[in-house]
Symmetry: C2
């Protein structure tokens, strides 16, 4: 059962050069980029085609070998990292990175799963089309991993999660069978929509080898505004009003608290507060349109004017240049980075119904300050998606380790409130290794049982990514 | 095993008045509206709550009784009609028809599954919101049925299929367990997205009792245009150009051939051709925006001007009033009705990738005319979704029965071409009883096997709608 004994068997399928067994060669696949997870694996496999993946899986199935599929290794919950047992083999899709087909008139593209997200975006752009998925890690994450984790990002408000962008998949099943579900149809009601199980399935049901994806018209006009307000209740009103006026043209709505702005101006090189006076909360609005005909700037002014009049916005500024749009987004994207400069940070990637965000924030902020006096909540994120990165920085001059030792208790506190609000303990990052114990706590027995039945039906030997998502049944 | 022997058992759960056993009472639930399917059932059950549905299902599970869930009984493939064996019991959701909650700021609504679609649309409108699903049968179909069949309709281009509108479901499983998946979250990556199996599942995996759905801003401006062109290739170019200019503001793009227009002007009371000269093909474009600020009319003019200049459009007219918009749509919606006046009609609800519609139409039209000389193809529908209702009227003065006797052969011919084009034999109507044999022909063994495994995992006794979708394994 030692995987290493099968190195020659795999080499016969994909070539010796692509069966990595030396520590140096394997290291990049076993270490998660924040060093949060360090896995062990005797072998890393790098097949080059669907046929090779199929043959590898057939071999693994016959020999009861466990497989962890891996894309760009940028996931935040450890779903792509093997356990420490050395029983699992990493299967990297990196060598499968071609565009298979593009249909600009039909607004679709079909790609290998190992293509890097940024490359995919560029290929769409060459055809005057937009592939809207956009993430911090887009320079190295791969579309297969994005699909397996149902990645979110900053374009969800207008274009949906990765799930909403997938038209079809090609998947190699645990027994090596290839499911050709690569359709580019907008409508197809012929049986269960099987692709949905693999989207967000974290590689526990099959290995995604290719995907057909939706494309969109490229935005031709874009405006961004930065607004200051007293609290998240005002931010929600601004969102509701902006959505009513702009509909699908509202492509971004992000919020951050005053302390986030202070962290940015202190630690982000060259960053400055876009508004003259301080405000308790900020919202970043983005409007964009694929139509040259749309008076996007007029609309932004109209939204802000209505919000001023209603007393929801204290001050606001519209970006005067592309550079300033970038500056606004840099403040938002810098939030994680600047928090590192303020000591230890306990994090939550949660969602609640959009309309309940303000009440949730009121209650959760009060609760964490009650739990650790002096701690500094820095909740920010995608208000329009109901998704808040509820991060908490340690007290100033407090002890980092003492603070971080409260991680689990803090999680339990925040997640308890999230559940009261009908929310999710993992809005966009997934379950992976990090939250699999939590999953059993927040899901009903009925739901867990259904998930286990699906897993058993499609992966009866339990060979696919057994360390992720579901705990083995006891 | 006689279902009738259990009438008292069910009456104890839901009350005698709601256990229908008299032929007159049962008739509306057993006859499909076009009289295409006539089922038999000893009992029709009408529970009033999720708890009652759960108790009914527990009872049925314990006694091995088969259940056919039914909404408004408007489905087009017989999925809601029991078989003739009298072994199945119809479970109607009609009495569960309340709005459970609405959140206008968060753009969500939660309803019982038996609510009539039109009522749901009206409830959204009362809150100044849009529920975009729109079908010919909206006055009687129920949202539970729409979800179970993943209904399409005329708003798919902008808002997606029913699947895209569902945020969460409450489902009673075959064993009577209630799965509370009623979430109103825009983002939730905590395990397999189980609701997707029940959406489009045709009641074969569980009984949907409630749903949380997305709402949208109400369109505040709307423009429609009717354009004439030489062929579907020009129509595709017009679509591509309209989508590039209008993006999500393009909310409708339908096509019909000259013969369809002739049928309408001949048989649709008061209908007239919006254009002065005849054209081989027509497109109906609709632009709508939730934003008052959007110059929708200018955009429509700009799209048509560009299309004229490119030589894709021969003539076009923009509706001058709400009444004229209705007239345009009436021509499109009248297509099925007017065909009835022209004798027998053989129908197909198919899709191909959007960019391949013109080539598909060329090939399929030539093939059916070759097969039955004199037959009159009337393909029309949602070009923007790649979905064509490929209907064929009998030859003028030909024999109706002789023509209709070729139904299966004609289907095989057309579906064969659809499959060559990577298309679907059921774009929006589903499989049900009508196409279950076809399903086995067009799906790969790998896919059928996955579907059977899912069915066996969630409905191990095979009690849920056994006549629909999947054939029993031999």
């Amino acid at each position: 059962m030692e995987p290493l004994n099968h190195a020659a068997g795999f080499a016969a399928i994909i070539g010796e050069a692509h069966v990595l067994t030396r520590d140096d060669d394997k290291a990049p696949y076993l270490r998660e980029w924040r060093d949060k997870y360090q896995g062990k694996s005797q072998i890393v496999l790098r097949p080059a085609s669907t046929a090779e993946v199929s043959a590898v899986m057939k071999y693994a199935y016959a020999h009861h070998l466990k497989i962890v599929p891996q894309g760009g290794n940028t996931g935040l919950v450890g779903a792509q990292i093997p356990l420490e047992t050395e029983e699992e083999i990493v299967l990297s899709l990196s060598r499968m990175n071609s565009v298979r087909a593009i249909d600009p008139d039909g607004y679709t593209i079909t790609v290998d799963s190992g293509i890097v997200l940024e490359t995919l975006q560029q290929e769409a752009e060459k055809a005057d089309r937009l592939f809207p998925l956009s993430l911090g890690s887009q320079g190295s994450c791969q579309i297969g991993g994005n699909i397996s984790s149902n990645a979110g990002g900053t374009a969800v408000l207008a274009y949906g999660n990765t799930r909403d962008l997938v038209l079809g998949l090609e998947v190699v099943l645990p027994n090596g069978d290839v499911w050709d579900g690569l359709r580019t149809l907008r409508k197809d009601n012929t049986g269960y929509d099987l692709k949905q199980l693999f989207i967000g399935g974290e590689g526990t049901l099959g290995v995604i080898t290719a995907a057909s994806l939706k494309l969109f018209p490229r935005p031709k006009k874009l405006e961004a505004a930065f607004a200051g307000m007293r609290d998240p209740h005002a931010a929600l009103k601004l969102f509701s009003l902006a959505k009513a006026q702009a509909g699908p043209v509202l492509t971004g709505f992000e919020i951050m608290p005053r302390i986030g702005m202070e962290f940015c101006t202190a630690h982000l090189s060259g960053a400055r507060d876009p508004l003259t006076a301080p405000h308790q909360w900020y919202a970043l609005l983005e409007l964009s349109s694929g139509s040259e005909a749309f008076p996007v700037k007029d609309l932004m002014e109209s939204i802000l004017a209505e919000a001023f009049e209603a007393g929801e916005v204290e001050d606001a500024t519209i970006a005067q240049s592309v550079g300033q749009v970038t500056e606004f987004w840099r403040l938002r994207h810098g939030m994680s980075e600047v928090q590192k400069k303020e000591g230890g940070s306990i994090k939550h990637d949660v969602s609640v119904p959009v309309g309940r965000i303000p009440d949730f924030l009121d209650q959760a902020i009060a609760a964490v300050i009650g739990f650790i006096p002096g701690c500094r909540p820095v909740p920010f994120g995608h208000l329009g998606d109901g998704n808040i990165h509820f991060n908490i920085s340690q007290p100033v001059d407090g002890d980092r380790e003492a603070f971080l030792s409260k991680w689990d208790e803090m999680n339990a506190l925040v997640h308890g409130i999230v559940m009261e609000f009908g929310g999710s303990i993992s809005a966009e990052h997934g379950i992976g290794r990090m939250k699999r114990e939590l999953l059993a706590e927040v899901k009903s027995d009925v739901e867990l049982e259904m998930m286990r039945k699906i897993k058993a039906a499609l992966d009866p030997k339990g060979l696919l990514n057994p360390g992720a998502m579901l705990q083995a049944q006891s």
